[in-house]
Symmetry: C2
Subunit: 326 residues, 2 copies
């Protein structure tokens, strides 16, 4: 871990000075699962500005990139420097969709006040969410004012990634013939702000009503609700309703200023999820790569393959030498 | 673990005799994360028939449920007894979409040769994929001929769940204006059979061509390819092209009879992923619930929250007492 200590110092310094090139290179190392990045992250972590992180997610086709581009335009207009992280959990290899997103993000590509980075699940053991967490440490140290994470698709990966956001915006499209679809998302439970995009499409008001009902009765929140998640209508292609979204984002930030305990509660919950993810990654690396752990893993793998042992029992046996911990 | 040993025996016996009620009750316990199910699973696992598992996945709106219903109709017509497991990884709480799927699966609901079960990510630590794996042990012991797993949505959860399938069918819709979408799925790399549904829609042939290119050049397969994944067109609403899909499923099964090493290779890879998932779940349970592990977890959680330590270092510290294993 000491190897490259001074180069780690200088890499960290470049990032703190706002070098996009240094940040980009480090993020590529994070993405590829380079374990030596931890020396730099250790330096950067306590120095981070703790800038607000806005998470934008929702089902495919909801207009997340267009909404993000519009929001960034407004935030830029008032002088904020922004980092955008576009994450594609659906693709472990190709990251195809990101390309389209970067094109749509076009007008911000040449703006020196906007740092855009896309990320797919390339090879890293333990998943994309951990890589996103490390990347946020880098972005937070770059001297920007706000981070926007946009994720493509729906599923557990989104929920894991949104764990890093202070304000979570869920984009939806009008339900069309099937009102159930709007309520379906699962990410419903984690949203702070809901945006029904393509508001001029048939069914928009019905979707808003369905979301209002769903949000009013949502369960899974373990804190008393002091924030009532607004349901907003937009037509992001021409910017209609975006000002109200910005106002909601600001209000949500102010809400945490008013109720700092709520922010600590959310951060604690998020860090709990992050730590569990890291532990799983560390354990996985150990069993896949290290001496006797690996041998014992291969032994139990064969036992399950031959149907001599079920997977749960094999996992219990694998963890047994580590002690029961009670 | 010995408590309820004899009742475990009788529960297992009921399931082996094909009792849907006993199977349903056990699956509900699996879903809710009841740790005592392992005693029954341990009995069932070696007795399983190892029936072929067909996985059906793809983006929302691709017609997965309709394709599944059509396939099941054909398989029923030749006398196969089928279990269908509909999984919704996008919803940790509501499982909304499943409802619609069950309605669409309507005609099979009253068929005694079809066992239908839906499953969402309700509360289980360590995720849905482990619950799916345990459920497959139950279904495999019930005296059926084939299992069909259908998953809703796109993302890592799908890939984790498809880990249990011997034959993976990826459903797609014609790309419309955006040919990139079709190639995007990420699940591309794991497909054995591709189905472009709604084949009469504009863009179907372009989607087929894009998939053919993508499949020809796909990476990530660690075995020499002896199977060339077919790209088939269907219009599932009226059953057009479904016979060819059945033929492809049969051919893929025969392929494994011809190349048994390929099947062992796939099973080994899958069990590897399964074991890693189980280990992560076991570790997570330990850190969240057990005495000194929990105390140390809470300590490092606070260190990260206060920015005195980064998450990776905290995870390393948490795993340290467990020994380095080298």
């Amino acid at each position: 871990m000491n190897a490259g200590g001074s180069s780690a110092q200088s890499d960290a310094q470049s990032i703190i000075s706002g070098s996009r090139r240094a940040a980009g290179k480090l993020i590529t190392r994070i993405e590829s699962g380079d374990p030596t990045v931890v020396t730099i992250l250790r330096i950067l972590f306590p120095l981070g500005a703790r800038v607000p992180v806005l998470g934008v997610t929702g089902p495919p086709g909801a207009g997340k990139s267009t909404i993000t581009a519009q929001l960034v335009e407004r935030l830029r207009a008032r002088g904020e420097r922004i980092a955008i992280l576009a994450v594609d959990p659906s693709s472990p290899f190709t990251g195809g969709a990101i390309l389209g997103d970067r094109v749509r993000m076009g007008r911000h590509n040449t703006d020196p006040g906007v740092f855009i980075r896309s990320m797919a699940a390339r090879g890293r053991l333990g998943g994309l969410a951990n890589a996103v967490g490390d990347t946020l440490i880098v972005l937070d140290a770059m001297g920007i004012d706000r981070i926007v994470i946009e994720t493509v698709g729906v599923g557990q990966s989104e929920i894991d990634i949104m764990c890093y956001a202070e304000t979570i915006l869920i984009a939806q499209t009008p339900a069309g013939g099937d009102a159930v679809q709007a309520v379906k998302a699962g990410i419903l439970e984690i949203g702070d702000i809901f945006v029904v995009n393509k508001a001029d499409t048939e069914g928009a008001d019905r979707t808003v009503a369905a979301l209002q009902d769903a949000v009013a009765f949502r369960c899974g929140a373990d804190a008393p609700e002091t924030w009532r998640a607004p349901i907003l209508k937009t037509r992001a292609t021409d910017g209609l309703g975006i000002d109200a979204v910005i106002a909601a984002i600001d209000a949500h930030g102010q809400h945490f200023t008013l109720f700092p305990d709520q922010l600590v509660l959310r951060r604690r919950k998020q860090i709990r999820a992050v730590l569990v993810g890291r532990l799983a990654e560390a354990l996985r690396t150990r069993y896949e790569q290290q001496g006797r752990y690996r041998a014992s893993f291969e032994y139990w793998l064969e036992e399950v393959l031959q149907r001599r042992c079920d997977p749960t029992t094999a996992a219990i046996e694998l963890l047994a030498p580590i002690g029961s911990g009670t």
